[in-house]
Amino acid sequence: MGQLTGPTDPTADAHWEHNHPRKGFFTDTSICIGCKACEVACKEWNHNPQDGNLELLGSSYDNTGSLGASTWRHVAFIEQGQERIAEARESGRALVSLGMPRIGPPAPPSVADLADADTTPPDTADFRWLMSSDVCKHCTHAGCLDVCPTGALFRTEFGTVVVQDDVCNGCGTCVAGCPFGVIERRSNGTVKVAASREEQHAKHADVPNAGVAQKCTLCYDRLVADETPACAKACPTTSIKFGDHDDMVETAKERVATLHGQGMTEARLYGANENDGVGGTGSVFLLLDEPEVYGLPPDPRVPTADLPKMYRRAGMAVAGMAVAAAVAFLGGRE
């Protein structure tokens, strides 16, 4: 058992002897154009079946819905007016003035004093369209991995979290264990892409790995061959960057500083802090509004962090039950 909370190297924590550098994504949503190439590339490479029936969800251009067993990349679309933009700019500015601990090289002076920064929006002042490609966070302390009873979920040599689908028995504990709502048990009610309307209503083809928990593997099969994950490879704007986790965090910090320098105080990082509730995420994001706007939890905490306390409390409860039984038999009136 490794560390349950706090900053750590997950690969070393999982007792990998030869240390590959930890791999991760940096998803820069400020340059995402919402093309969904990542979603398509992911589906194709990983042979993921269609998620439910084709339908329009009425949420801007997002008809995928959310991450799930068969959707490992999900592009969120949020339409915002002037008021929300101003709010986002304000909440972002507040984050900077909180004085977060800085790691790495000192930030350029333009970041330090944002009060004088030119807050004129670079373009579209009265309307903006946020697009963000969400993915498994590959947490330093992964809730799903911690609670998996079979050992089907494991930490790879790249520091990522992967399900072995021939071991998983579909107990579903990981689904509840993930603070980001990423991993899901694949039901066999999904359908395959149909070529014609008739086929769409025909009997559904077999779904691979039904009944088993599924999520992004950070293309483990590609990583072992020294290849870039399918989504990052397909991204036309380099919004999805892939590389060594440390480099990704550094790139993210540089990028957010640049944006702040341009007056975009709404830019902020998500998952780049190794002191957060999950020990930092392997997939780092640059967001342009509060995380919950994108469907991300504002303060996730890996549930296992409290496990020692829970076991202590359970131990007390067990002792209490034993005492109650003893009292019932020994202190009885008959």
């Binding site: 004085g99 977060m100 993930c178 957010v256 500083a257 706007v293 996730p300 549930p303 019932a328």
Partner: protein, 362 residues
């Protein structure tokens, strides 16, 4: 706001409820059928992605809730069986041992049925992971079942007039049934409590908020349910300890539940009072109190004891189903994930802790 001349014919809109006021089941009444105009932003400070959930609910059906109840009944019964064994109460011992095996057998079957791949249920014992309450629980369940099984088979053999085809193993069975009964009793407490850790160790908001006190609720509920079952099955002459255990369980259950709710984030505790879960938990408290009162006042009357026992069993089952449903409901509404998290983040920031947020400005 008037948009058209026909607006004046609309029925008057109810007054907007203010936040921070009394929270009741009617708070989120929007039926979403368009019959009345709904505010586009119901909670000013609450934003989510198109109202979609942030965390996913565990893909568990009622089988798992049933197991929470049955596991508790089995655990308490094993304790009563061991007590009966040690204090010379043969009828209580026999009935409790049979109850323990019956309940744990049904419960285990329910668990296996709920797996996505039931044929791989043995993978639960593929490894031992202390960070996984489900893994720890599988081992507890296995160890418990072994003892409870041997003890119950010995009883069945005796009841059937030694007709089980055991041959020379009968002597072995007689020799190990006592230790087996005690072994099951050792694992009884952990069996009753681990399910609380299992629910607490999730990102499901309401369950996670309960993690400190839920073990106490669950062992109390297990005690009163198994004692209730013993009061149903066993004559009052031998059921004295069951009555005492039932009363202790009732007190523990009611007190632990109250303390737990008080310690929870008010928003995360809401699902405990709303909808199906709210109804079940309300009735569970009533039934548990009624059963406790019946046990206290008329526990020496066979009929009253049996009725009280049934009330306790039903109350315990409703507690488990209520807690289970409340958790699933909390995972399906993003509000229960986002609001408590935002609040605790703001509280930490107000206290000067700024280094542990997942969102950073640089």
């Amino acid at each position: 706001m008037t948009l058209s001349e026909f607006d004046s014919f609309r029925p008057a809109e109810p007054a907007r409820r203010r936040r921070g006021g009394k929270r009741g089941p009617g708070r989120r009444r929007d039926n979403g059928d368009g019959s009345r105009e709904m505010p586009m932003v119901p909670e000013p400070e609450f934003t989510s992605y198109y109202g979609r959930p942030v965390v996913k609910p565990a893909p568990w059906g009622d089988d798992v809730a049933a197991y929470l109840f049955l596991g508790g009944v089995a655990a308490g019964s094993a304790l009563l069986g061991a007590g009966g064994q040690l204090t010379g109460r043969p009828t209580l011992r026999r009935n409790a041992r049979l109850s323990a095996l019956g309940a744990v057998g049904l419960g285990a079957a329910a668990l296996v049925k709920d797996l996505g791949r039931p044929e791989r249920f043995l993978n639960m014992l593929r490894t031992f992971k202390v960070t996984s309450p489900m893994s720890v629980g599988s081992w507890i369940l296995s160890a418990f079942s072994a003892g409870a099984g041997v003890a119950a088979v010995a009883e069945i053999d005796r009841m059937s007039g030694e007709r089980l085809p055991l041959g020379p193993l009968r002597g072995v069975l007689r020799a190990v049934e006592g230790p087996a009964g005690l072994e099951a009793a050792v694992f009884a407490g952990p069996l009753a409590a681990y399910t609380a850790v299992l629910l607490g160790d999730t990102a499901t908001p309401t369950w996670n908020e309960m993690h400190g006190e839920l073990p106490f609720v669950f062992v109390s509920s297990a005690s009163l349910a198994s004692a209730g079952l013993a009061m149903v099955t066993t004559p009052v002459r031998e059921a004295g300890p069951a009555r005492s255990l039932a009363l202790l369980g009732v007190v523990g259950d009611v007190v632990a539940m109250k303390i737990m709710e008080r310690g929870m984030d008010p928003v995360a505790a809401e699902p405990l009072h709303q909808g199906k879960a709210g109804t079940m938990l309300k009735w569970s408290e009533r039934l548990v109190l009624a059963g406790g009162l019946g046990t206290l006042l008329g526990g020496r009357n066979r009929a009253v004891a049996a009725a009280s026992g049934l009330a306790l069993l039903a109350g315990s089952a409703l507690t488990r189903f209520g807690v289970f449903e409340a958790g699933l409901a909390s995972a399906k509404d993003p509000r229960y994930t986002i609001e408590p998290q935002k609040r605790r983040l703001a509280a930490r920031r107000a206290a000067g802790v700024t280094g542990d947020a997942i969102t950073t400005g640089s």
